[in-house]
Amino acid sequence: MLTSLGIVLGVAILFGVLSTNASVSKGLDDSIRRFTDRVDVVLRPVGAFDAVLPIAAVDSTRRLPGVEEVSPSLYLGASTPDPEKTDEPAYLAVIGVDPAAWMPMFDNEIKAGRMFTSGAGEVIVGPQVARRLKLSVGGRIHLTTPRGNEEFTVTGFVGAREAARAGGELVVFTSIDTARAVSGKGAVFTGASVVLAEGTDIGTWLDAHEGALGPGVQLERSGTGDDGFRPFLATVQASLTFIAAIALFVGAFLIYLTLSMAVIERTRMYGALRALGATRRQVRRVVVSEALVLGAVSTVLGLVLGTAIAWALLQVVTGLLEIDRDVPLAISPGAVMIAVVAGILVTLVSSLVPARRAARLSPVVAMKGDHAADARLGRAWIVGAVALPVGMALGFGGRSIGALALGTFVILLGAVLLVPTILRPLARGLGGITRRATPGVGAVAVMHLVKERSRSAYTLALVMVVLAMVFSIGAGNVAMGRSLDTFADRQFGADLSVGSANSFSPALEKAVLDDTPAVVESTALRFGQTVMQEPSPADERQVNLLILDPASYFEVLSFVWADGDDSSARKALTANGAVLLPEGLARSLDRRVGDRVTIRTAKGPRPFRVAGLYSGFGGQQGVVVGLTDGRELFNAGPPNLLALDLVAGADVEAVKRDVERRAGALDKVFVETAAEGKAEAQAQLNGFFRVFYAILFVAAVIGMLGLTNTLAMSVLQRYREIGVLRAIGTQRRQIRGMVTVEAVTLVLVALALSLPVGSLLSLIFVNTSARVLGFSVDYVYPWVWVPIVAVLGVVIAALAAIGPARRAARLQVVTALAFE
C-alpha cells in the first residue's frame, strides 16, 4: 500500500511536470505559429517603440527580389470599458491592416458580418475577443485612443486564424487609414510582414538584403520576437524538471524502504519456500516479480494522478508566464514512456537489494523470523565524502542550470551517503534531549536509533533531502525577494510611474506634469528594441532598449550597480556613444566597463563604450542609452513612461487618482505607486516560487510516508519487545511516546543535517544566480526559514508517528509475546 503510494506520487509528479512543460512549449509554439504562420520575415523600425516605418520602406520591400507578399500594419494602444471589471478598463491593441494583403497572408476569413470600410470608424474582431468583450456584429465598441474617446462599429468577426499574440493581448483590426487617423501618426507604418517565394532560404535572403532598406529599418526572421521570453520559459521548465527529479528520487527511496519492509514481513514465507526446495534464484524472482506487478499497477495510477497534476500546474504556469490560458494539455507519448520506464525501473532496482537479502537467508533462519537488523556500516561514506566537494565544485563553478542541478544532486547524494556515519553521535546528542519526553522508554527509542542505523539512516536521509530542499528554495525566495526590493527601490522607486502604450502626446505630458502641483521631480523614459552585433559582428542579439534623460533620471531613479555609479553614468550618458549594460548580458558577452560593443542604430551599426553595469531582474533589463543618442540614433520620440517624485508628505493615492482621471480622459495610461510596483514584482516572484512549494509539499508527503514506513517497520520488528515492555509494566501511553520519540529524534537529526546542507545549496544557488540566470542576488541568511523548516519537520514526525504509535500501543501483550 505504502510502496504503491510512493510509486504513484513519484510517477505522478514526473509525468505531471513533463506534460506541463510539453504543453506550455507546444502552446507557445502554436500561438507563435498561428501569428507568424506563413510569414518569413518581419520589417520594423530600429530603436524606440514609437519609431515608425516610412511608406517608402514598404514599397522598397515589395521590389526586393524573392518577395512574394507584403502586409504592412500600423499598431497603437487603446482601452475600452471591461465588461468583467468595473474599476479598470481593458487594454487592447488596434492594428491597422490592408485587407487585400492581410487576409490571404494570414489565411483569414470573415466568419460573420463584413469587412470594415477603409477610413470609417469600423473594426473587425476575432471570436475570442468578441466573447471576452461581449461584442456582436453590428454592435458598438467604445475606444480611448490618442485622438480621444469614440465609438466604433463592429462590422464582422474574423476567424479562425486570428492573430493571437503571446501575452494574450486583445486585438481589434481596422483599416490603415483609420489607424493613422486615430493615432495621429500620418503616412507611416509601424511594421510589415513579408512572405518570400517558395524555397527561399530565409537566412541567406536576410544576409543579402540586410541594410537594403536603409539603416533605420530592420529586417528579421519572423517569430524571433520571443527571444527574451524563451530563456525565462526554459528556466521555469528546467527548475520544474529538476524538482520533479528530486521528487522521483525521494519517491524511489520510499519504494526501496517499503519493499524492504514487505520482504521482512514475509521472511518466514520465503524461508518455507526455501525449505520446500525453492532455489535462491526462485525466491529472488518471486520478490522481483511481486515488485514489478506492484510497480506496473502503481505506475498506471501515477499516470492518472499525473494528468491531474499537469492540468493544475498548467494553469499556474500559464498564469505565471502570462500566456493564453486556453493552452490545451498535451500528453505526449514520450512523457508517458519516460514516466512508465521511470516508475517500473525504480521499482525494479529498489526490489533487487531486498530480493537478494530474502534469497540469501538460510531457510532455518528465515523460518525462525529471527533475522538480525542490518547494522553494518558500509564504505558508502567514502563515496559521500568525495561527492560532497565534487558537488560543491560543480555548484559554485557551474555556468548552466544543468551544472547547478547536477551539483545540487551530487551534494544531496554525498550528504545522504554520509548520514549513516554521522547518525550515531548526532542521535545520541539530540536523543539526550528527546528521551526526556518519555522517561525510561524514550531511552530505549533513542538506543534503537543509535544502534540500528542502516534503515534509520536512509529514512533520515530522505527526510533530510526534503527539508534541505525546502530550506534552500525558501532561502532563494528570501534572497531574491530582498534583492527585488532593492532593485525595485532604485530602478522603479519613483513615487508615481505613469505609462502609456502610445507615447505621451504634448497634451498628455502636460496633464501629468504641469497640471499636477505635487510633482517636484520628474524624468521621462523611452523604450524600444534593437540588435547587438555581439560578440562578433556576424552575431545578432535582440535586446531591449531603455532611453533615459541623464539630466533628470538620476534625480528620481537609479540603478543597482554591479560596476559603476550614478555620477559617472550621468556624465557618460550625457556625452554621446555610451551605454549601460545589464550585468548578465555583459557577462554572457564577456564585456566589462570601458569595453566597446556594437549596436545597430537607425544610422547603421555603431560602437558604444560600456560606461556601467547594473543588476536587474528578468526581461526588464535592456541596453541603456542617453537621450541625445536616443534621438539621433534610435528614433526616440515622445516619452513612454514618466517617473514622478512628489512633494514630501503628498497623499500618493490621491495624486494617483487625480492623474488617472485627468490623463485617462486623454489616452490609455497606467499609473502605479512605488508600493504597488514593488508589491506586483513580489507577487510575481512569489507566484514563481509557489510552483516549487507545491511540488515540495508533495515531496514532504513522500518523506512523511517514508518515515511512517520505517516506524511501522520498527514496530513490526519489535512486536515481542513491545510485548515484554508491556508485560513488565510499560503503559500504552509510554509505548506511544517511545515510537514518537524515535520519530522526533530522527527528524531532529535530519533537521540538524538539513540546515547546513540547505544553507550550502542556497549559497550556491544565490552565488551562481548572476552567472546562470543573469542577475545578481545578495546572499541573505534565511533565518525566517529555520523555524519554518523546524515546524515542518516536527509536523512530519508527528504525523508519521501517529499510525505506528497507535499500532504499537494497541498490541495485546499476549499476542505480542507470542509473535516471532
Binding site: 534503537h448 515492555l725 509475546l817
Partner: protein
C-alpha cells in the same frame, strides 16, 4: 487468623472467540498461592497452563472468574492500573528470555525502574545486588547477543527479581535451554525462594522442572486434575510428580 494467600485464582474461565467450538481454554480453575511458596503448574500442550499464567500475571483477562493479587481483583483495574501492578508486583521470566537487544545486561535488569522514571542513584544498588545474585557481575555491560542463552535467562531472572515482586511468574524458563543450563536456572529460582522468600509460580511440561516446586498443580483440558504437596529430595519429588502424571493419564 490465617495469612491470606498472595495470589488466588477464582473459578477462572477463558474462552477464545476464534475457537469455533468455543472450547474453554480454562474451565473453572481455582487455587491459591501462599506467600513464599513455589508452585509448579504442569500439563501437556494445550492444557491451558500458559493461558493460566497470562491471567495470573494480568497480561490477559478471564472470560469469567477473577484473579486476586494481595486481595485485589485484577479484573476491576484499568489498563493503566494493571500496568502499574505488573510493573511493581509481578515479575516475569519467559521461555525466549525476551530481553531488549539494544540495551546492556545491566540496562535490561533495571528496565522496570527506568520505565518508572527512577534515577540510577535510586535503583543502582538494587540492580547491582540482583546482578551479583544471578552471577553476572562480569557481564553487566555486554549486550544480550554477546552472552550465552543461559546467561540471557539469568538476566531475565534478575530483571524479574529486581522489582522484588509479590509473585514471580516463570513460563517454561528452561524450555529453550540445555538440561544442565536449565537446571542452573531452576536452582537460581529455588535460591530466590529459599533465601529471599520469593513467591514463585512456574509453568512447565517437564516433570524434573516441576519437581523443584513445593506444590504441584496438574492441568488437563483446562481443569485442575490433581494437586499435591511435594516433599523430600529432588529425586523423591520427581517420583511424586511422575506418579501423579501416570494417575492422571490412566484416569
Amino acid at each position: 487468623m490465617p495469612i491470606p494467600p498472595v495470589l488466588s485464582a477464582r473459578d477462572l474461565v477463558k474462552t477464545y472467540d476464534s475457537d469455533e467450538a468455543a472450547r474453554n481454554a480454562l474451565d473453572g480453575v481455582s487455587f491459591d498461592v501462599e506467600d513464599g511458596s513455589f508452585v509448579s503448574i504442569m500439563g501437556p500442550s494445550g492444557s491451558g497452563k500458559s493461558t493460566l499464567l497470562h491471567l495470573l500475571g494480568g497480561l490477559d483477562s478471564p472470560t469469567s472468574g477473577e484473579v486476586l493479587l494481595d486481595g485485589t481483583s485484577l479484573s476491576t483495574l484499568s489498563d493503566d492500573a494493571l500496568t502499574l501492578v505488573r510493573r511493581k508486583r509481578i515479575g516475569f521470566v519467559f521461555q525466549f528470555f525476551n530481553l531488549v537487544p539494544v540495551l546492556t545486561v545491566a540496562e535490561n535488569v533495571a528496565l522496570p525502574a527506568v520505565i518508572a522514571g527512577e534515577s540510577p542513584a535510586e535503583y543502582g544498588p538494587r540492580r547491582d545486588e540482583v546482578i551479583e545474585l544471578v552471577g553476572l557481575g562480569d557481564h553487566r555491560d555486554k549486550l544480550p547477543a554477546e552472552v550465552s542463552g543461559g546467561q540471557q535467562q539469568r538476566v531475565a531472572v534478575a530483571r524479574a527479581l529486581f522489582v522484588a515482586p509479590a509473585v514471580l511468574l516463570a513460563d517454561e524458563p528452561t524450555g529453550n535451554l540445555d538440561s544442565v543450563t536449565g537446571r542452573e536456572i531452576l536452582d537460581l529460582l529455588r535460591t530466590a525462594q529459599t533465601e529471599r522468600g520469593q513467591t514463585i509460580v512456574l509453568v512447565t511440561h517437564d516433570p524434573a522442572a516441576a519437581a523443584v516446586g513445593d506444590e504441584l498443580v496438574q492441568l488437563r483440558d483446562g481443569r485442575i486434575s490433581d494437586r499435591l504437596h511435594l516433599k523430600g529430595t529432588h529425586a523423591a519429588r520427581t517420583r511424586q510428580v511422575l506418579a501423579s502424571l501416570r494417575a492422571d493419564a490412566s484416569a
